[in-house]
Symmetry: C2
Subunit: 110 residues, 2 copies
DNA sequence: AAACTATGACGTATGTTTACGACATACTTT
DNA sequence: AAAGTATGTCGTAAACATACGTCATAGTTT
């Protein structure tokens, strides 16, 4: 990170950007929706639901995990992934605060 | 776009990802907050508020504009940027729907 | 123990984003 | 008209993201 200037912004802005980045690929959005839909942990057959190879799906899962949005516990041969409800709630609150802070009536003519 | 598979996901997932991508850099988050704070159109002195060159800020402004979140009208020598309240409202609603659809109580032990 | 299965880690090719200097454009002022 | 000012566009280098095949690991089954 010697080139990017992303770290020179304030903590909240960086946190919002970090969260948004996780959601910035449809595969990760799809994975979250799939985990929510199945209402339970699910092992790597997620790949079969998506137009991606198992390897690529695994990579996206790692990113979601690194961001804290999902948890993954080893359960014998399979791994049990599910949404981290607490962290997800925090993410939701963060974005809600951001959007609420932005909404306003522009007083110009454009 | 011959390499990415992003287009193979459903429209809503792509739309969420597209919106998230716009917010995935702290500079763009900061620009939106700055525009909201000043409660009016503002010309390119935004660059002086950020740790970035004028050129780079201009580039971020173009991305926000391309995404429809802000509008920019030429007003003589300066350009008047402001948040597109209607589009911004739609973006907010889209994310709210997504987050509401995800929140659930995981029934496993992880 | 040997074969099988599910998964993550590694390597790598290609595409995209970020950042900025230099140049172009267009309006304003003198 | 010439100089000045505010912006956008272009070119480009470095960093990062995406996608997937192959290999390594670790538990299961026979």
């Amino acid at each position: 990170m010697t080139f990017t200037k992303a770290t020179e912004f304030d903590a909240t802005q960086q946190e919002i950007a970090r969260l948004a980045k996780v959601l910035s690929h449809p595969a990760r959005v799809a994975i979250l929706q799939h985990l929510a839909k199945t209402q339970s942990c699910i092992s790597g057959d997620i790949a079969q639901e998506l137009p991606l190879s198992r390897t690529t799906v695994s990579q996206h899962l790692q990113e979601l995990k690194a961001a804290g949005l999902i948890k993954g516990e080893i359960d014998g041969l399979t791994v049990c992934y599910c949404i981290d409800t607490e962290q997800f709630g925090k993410a939701k609150a963060l974005l809600e605060t951001f959007f609420s802070g932005i909404s306003f009536a522009c007083n110009c003519d454009c």
